[in-house]
């Protein structure tokens, strides 16, 4: 795991567009990170939210075809919350959001996103699919859930999560293709799984 000094060095390289650097925009204070003694970079909450509407849909099937994906998209609702306003997450509710920061990972870095203990202790879970692959580009989608007992007000721009980074020696592979970064939370598509298909066959 990268320590604070190495994190700061990667961020400086990223600012200079070095292909081995980590670029984060808007950039966190590199000096603060360097002096923090922590091994993570804290990120802030973005302004777009996607919630799944309560509907007459009886279940979500992981083996769905394209047409049903479109139904799924229709079942979601986008919200834009300006700075200075808030989004109230009620107990038991789930909403997608994203980091305010746009990140570009080099092929030599991967990482994990984790919650902030302050929020976790009040019941706010921010991420369940935590891996960040080398070459990731865009804003991270966060899966926010309130598992506590009382509603939680969350505000765009607040510190919401932190990323821990790992070096990938001689890493060359990118997980993202060209033109793939997103600024808004993204529901994503369930990828086809030929092995699962085979397992489900009649034979």
């Amino acid at each position: 795991m990268l320590d604070c000094v190495e994190l700061a060095r990667k961020l400086r390289l990223g600012n200079d567009a070095d292909p081995n650097g980590l670029c984060i925009v808007p950039e966190p204070s590199i000096c603060e990170i360097e002096k923090s003694g922590e091994a993570s970079v804290t990120l802030r909450l973005g302004r777009w939210f996607v919630s799944l509407r309560q509907s007459s849909q009886t279940f979500f099937d992981t083996d769905i075809d394209h047409a049903e994906h479109e139904n799924e998209a229709r079942a979601s609702k986008n919200y834009f919350v300006p700075f200075g306003k808030e989004f109230v997450l009620h107990p038991g509710r789930f909403v997608l959001s994203s980091t305010l920061e746009w990140m570009k990972f080099p092929p030599t870095l991967g990482g994990y996103v984790g919650g902030k203990s302050t929020w976790a202790r009040r019941g706010l879970i921010i991420e369940t699919a935590a891996g960040i692959h080398p070459g990731f580009n865009g804003c991270l989608t966060l899966e926010l859930t309130n598992v506590g007992e009382v509603p939680i007000k969350i505000r765009p721009g607040m510190k919401i999560c932190q990323i821990f980074l790992h070096a990938i020696p001689e890493g060359k592979a990118h997980s993202s293709g060209l033109l793939t970064g997103r600024r808004r939370p993204y529901l994503g598509k369930v990828k086809g799984d030929p092995i699962l298909k085979s397992l489900q066959g009649d034979g």
Binding site: C23, V25, G138
Partner: protein
């Protein structure tokens, strides 16, 4: 109730909401700190179907983006035109230019007397003297009709000028993207012809369009004319002539206002290459100076990809819109936290 309709549509999440703050800042500079911006995607068909300012609501700036393009950040410069309507109202430019327009209408009637009496044959026994034009109440009515039409036209020219001087080349490129080759319906006489608008932008907008593959800008556009009576033809011809005569003045007036009140927002060519390099590196701008710089960089990036801005390049347009809108959000973040 068009205002209510406007508000309703403003909830459409396809809108480029990130641009709201940046436009509010520009509006506050140009119009005053009490400016209230309503940003929406109201244009169903074209940008020129909606009255974008209301005399009863002088501090309200209604920025309407075309509904089908509301997620396309590259057309944001066209909101500069709508800002222009509020500036026009706020500066009371109609009163300032009404004498010029009135004078232009009289000059046109005098210079085209034969056509005038062909269209208004009840005046065929009269002569175009100064006294006649000043005292004959029926001719004065025609002068008034022409002046009103010409005032609408020069307001539109002024608005194009505000857009051009604020946004630079991206205004012309967005104008071309959205309006070329034609509106798809007859020209409205309250507007200059598309060809004339393009000509004015090219001549007086301070933009080197040849650098962007548009060296013959006005020829990119064509106008369809409605069937008109001889009187309507005379009115339209007079208003067009007055518009042409005053176009340079409108661009000069807009430049003066933008330079005095919003210079820190107006496009700065030297600020753009750094942003383009960020876009080429697939990241948003880190320290953008203004919304126009960001959008100009977006257009430059797109043009550098030699893909143009065709429907087939939709993926690339969506991609650059992501970077442009994120950069605009970074601009807001930096401005809001500058003193934190």
């Amino acid at each position: 109730m068009p205002i209510l309709g406007f508000l309703l549509r403003s909830t459409n999440t396809r809108n480029s909401f990130e641009a709201y703050y940046a436009f509010s800042e520009i509006a506050n500079s140009l119009i005053g700190s009490d400016a209230k911006v309503i940003f929406s995607s109201e244009w169903d068909f074209s940008p020129i179907t909606y009255p974008m300012s209301f005399p009863a609501l002088p501090s309200y700036v209604l920025l309407g983006m075309p509904s089908l393009e509301s997620a396309n950040a590259l057309v944001l410069p066209l909101a500069g035109h709508e800002l222009g309507h509020s500036v026009w109202l706020n500066e009371d430019l109609e009163s300032r230019f009404a004498p010029d327009v009135d004078e232009g209408a009289k000059r046109f009637i005098k210079a085209n007397w034969a056509h005038f009496i062909e269209a208004f044959d009840e005046h065929k026994d009269r002569q175009p003297t100064d006294e006649e034009l000043a005292d004959n109440m029926f001719i004065k009515l025609t002068i008034s009709d022409i002046s009103q039409l010409a005032l609408y036209q020069i307001e539109e020219i002024f608005c194009d000028a505000v857009g051009s001087h604020l946004f630079g080349q991206s205004y012309a490129l967005a104008f071309h993207y959205l309006l070329a080759p034609s509106l798809g319906f007859d020209r409205a006489l309250e507007y200059p012809t598309l060809q004339n608008r393009a000509e004015f932008i090219a001549k007086f907008g301070g933009i080197n369009l040849a650098d962007h593959g548009l060296s013959n800008f006005s020829n990119e556009f064509e106008d369809r004319w409605p069937p008109m009576t001889k009187r309507q033809q005379f009115h339209s011809s007079a208003a067009d002539t007055i518009g042409i005569a005053l176009a340079e003045k409108m661009f000069g007036c807009a430049l003066d206002i933008v330079s005095r009140k919003a210079a820190s927002f107006a496009a700065l060519p030297s600020a753009q290459p750094g942003i383009v390099r960020k876009f080429e590196n697939s990241v948003p701008a880190r320290e953008p100076r203004s919304l126009p710089d960001i959008v100009n960089a977006g257009w430059t990036y797109l043009q550098s990809q030699k893909s143009g801005i065709q429907e087939t390049d939709r993926g690339r347009i969506e991609w650059i819109s992501e970077l442009v809108l994120k950069s605009i959000e970074v601009l807001e973040f930096r401005n809001r936290t500058a003193n934190a």
